[in-house]
Symmetry: C2
Subunit: 372 residues, 2 copies
């Protein structure tokens, strides 16, 4: 059993871990707290970014000699292998730590219980699964990446109560209230990349940057444009604003994008043409985005891309802003056909969060697909 | 300015008024509190039902001689005309009341400021518009009836996040969670009548009674079946359960309903056939329901009747239970075409209330239609 001070220290470790949310990926976010033998906090640390010290090393370094005979409380199982940094288990053993409290095992094949075994075989007491659910939720992007090698997709939508994205004539300004629009800017500021479809870029010429932050040095998310045709019309804003822009297209259409490469320095990613999907296989795209360091991607797109992502079961979180408004059966629907024939096939949301944002309702949850 | 004890007394008067919610209609709900000259509550009353004493009379009767030189705090302007009971203004003047605090004027043509004038001309101090918004909201059914001669329609819907009422194959069990279904039973228990369409009765054979109440003597709402064809199939449950059942049809189809009249004692209301609507003019139906004492009607119906009620601007409150589930573009839509071409034509909700019910979100608001 973890003691009350240890549980408090774990809450702090989870908070510290979250500070790595923008740069830790593809590593997990990890936080660590050192308690001395009297239970006082003598060191804290978190994993800031790939290549930087692990949370345990940062916390041990802050604690110094005070760590001896103490306890380390850490949000993920310490590593036991040589990566870019030495194994944390060695550092914990050398520091004279007596007890290790861990929120969850690291499922990474190089760790996966071996860290715990190594600590225990050195005579250290190990307690696991302390605030497990919180730790699992915190690292959902990392855990998803270990399982699938893909980026985590959060699909954002603005809908009327009757599930319409726009009126019959295509107008949708303003389907969301000001508070909702501000919240979307904060969401953009918390992810590594924002994704949209070529049609949205062509028709709306959006910026998709995070605006209205209090932080003047805020780094803009990369923008990823997914296009089956390579036709981005005369769009400019998405390229002119700060931050990397990537255009993902089937290989047969990349030629038409030279002006965006030469004029704006956009990257063009080509994928084998595949007409069963969105011009190419979106799974390949999300593997590439993950390998280039985009852990979570906020997708703000039209019906076509949203439908294809759902059909391929590639959406992980759905984030819906519902406006108290009716647009009728003639309004444009949220999705095209998804292959849902009966209630049994429906896509369900779990871990649902709901809140009021101005006059809108904001609902988020993780998608649970029917297992085929 | 009203004093703090007077405002507190008005809150109490509004609570008292609400006790009349099931039987006061077509009269308003009214509550009254008498404060003696030291500000102590010496009498309380409310209007229980049509024909029973008015709130002021009940409160004055409880206060007796203590009302002299006191204040009456009442949620609606006292009447000054002879109806089924004598004018309240006379009783207030006779009781020696010095000051009258009123939440809102009664827009009824027989009152409409004349009560206030009569009190003032007797030398009584009158303060109005104390907790006006609360009083207006409390009596929205009465005020709507004065303006339109119609019943107030609350349209209840259960939807997926993407605004679908059922999956492609028509299945919808269970689109709402258990807590939402319990809440619907409480809603049925709080209205005088529940309305549904003939198709729902034919296909689902529902009871539409209020079940699960703690009150064993609970009175069941009347059930009103609206049918363009008179074809109710082999439905039985809606007729077999306690409470009045009314079948509203165009006059040309009433013949087929004799078995429901003779076997179950159902009432059949015939209206002139009108093929521009739902077989007949629904406005006439809602005038008849109001004249028969149904102030608020909870409508639990299919897409056809819901669409027609919205097109005719007859829905007053929309009450939506949204389940965290996606049913896709092939799911059955909430409404058919409503004649909404652009965002300007959208039907908006005001006074929005939102809450979590189990895993569902419950959203209610009053509809604001575009003025043609």
């Amino acid at each position: 059993m973890a003691s009350l001070p240890e549980i408090q220290a774990m809450k702090r470790a989870l908070e510290l871990a979250f500070l790595g949310r923008k740069a830790a990926f593809p590593n997990p976010m990890v936080g660590a707290v050192i308690l001395d033998s009297s239970g006082n906090i003598v060191g804290e640390g978190f994993h800031e970014k790939c290549g930087a010290p692990h949370a345990e090393i940062a916390a041990l370094s802050e604690a110094g000699a005070a760590a001896s005979s103490g306890t380390i409380v850490v949000s993920l199982e310490p590593c036991c292998h040589y990566g870019r940094t030495g194994p944390c288990t060695d550092a914990i053993i050398s520091a004279g730590i007596r007890r290790v409290v861990i929120a969850m095992r690291d499922p990474h094949p190089n760790v996966s219980g071996k860290g715990i075994t190594q600590l225990e075989s050195s005579g250290i007491e190990v307690e696991t699964n302390v605030l497990f659910d919180e730790a699992e939720s915190l690292n959902r992007v990392y855990l998803h990446y270990l399982r699938t090698s893909r980026s985590w997709i959060t699909l954002k939508m603005a809908l009327s109560i009757d599930g319409r994205t726009a009126a019959k004539d295509g107008s949708s300004r303003w389907l969301s209230c000001e508070e909702s629009r501000k919240h979307v800017h904060r969401m953009r500021g918390s992810v590594q990349a924002v994704m949209t479809g070529g049609g949205t870029v062509r028709d709306d010429d959006p910026r998709l940057t995070s605006r209205g932050s209090d932080d003047p040095g805020e780094q803009q998310p990369a923008r990823i444009i997914v296009s089956a045709t390579g036709d981005l019309g005369n769009s400019r804003k998405i390229f002119e604003n700060p931050g990397r822009v990537i255009i993902a297209v089937p290989e047969n259409v990349a030629g038409s994008l030279q002006k965006f490469q030469s004029e704006f320095g956009a990257d063009v990613w080509e994928f084998p043409a595949d007409f069963s999907g969105y011009g190419f296989n979106l799974t390949l795209l999300l593997e590439r985005t993950a390998s280039e360091g985009f852990g979570e991607i906020l997708c703000e797109c039209g019906r076509g891309l949203a439908t294809m992502l759902l059909r391929k079961q590639l959406v992980n979180t759905l984030s819906v802003f519902t406006t108290p408004m009716i647009l009728g059966g003639e309004g444009l629907p949220a999705f095209e056909e998804l292959g849902i024939d009966s209630m049994d096939d429906s896509i369900k949301l779990e871990n649902v969060r709901s809140s009021l944002l101005g006059t809108d309702t904001h609902l988020e949850g993780e998608l649970v697909y029917r297992i085929d």
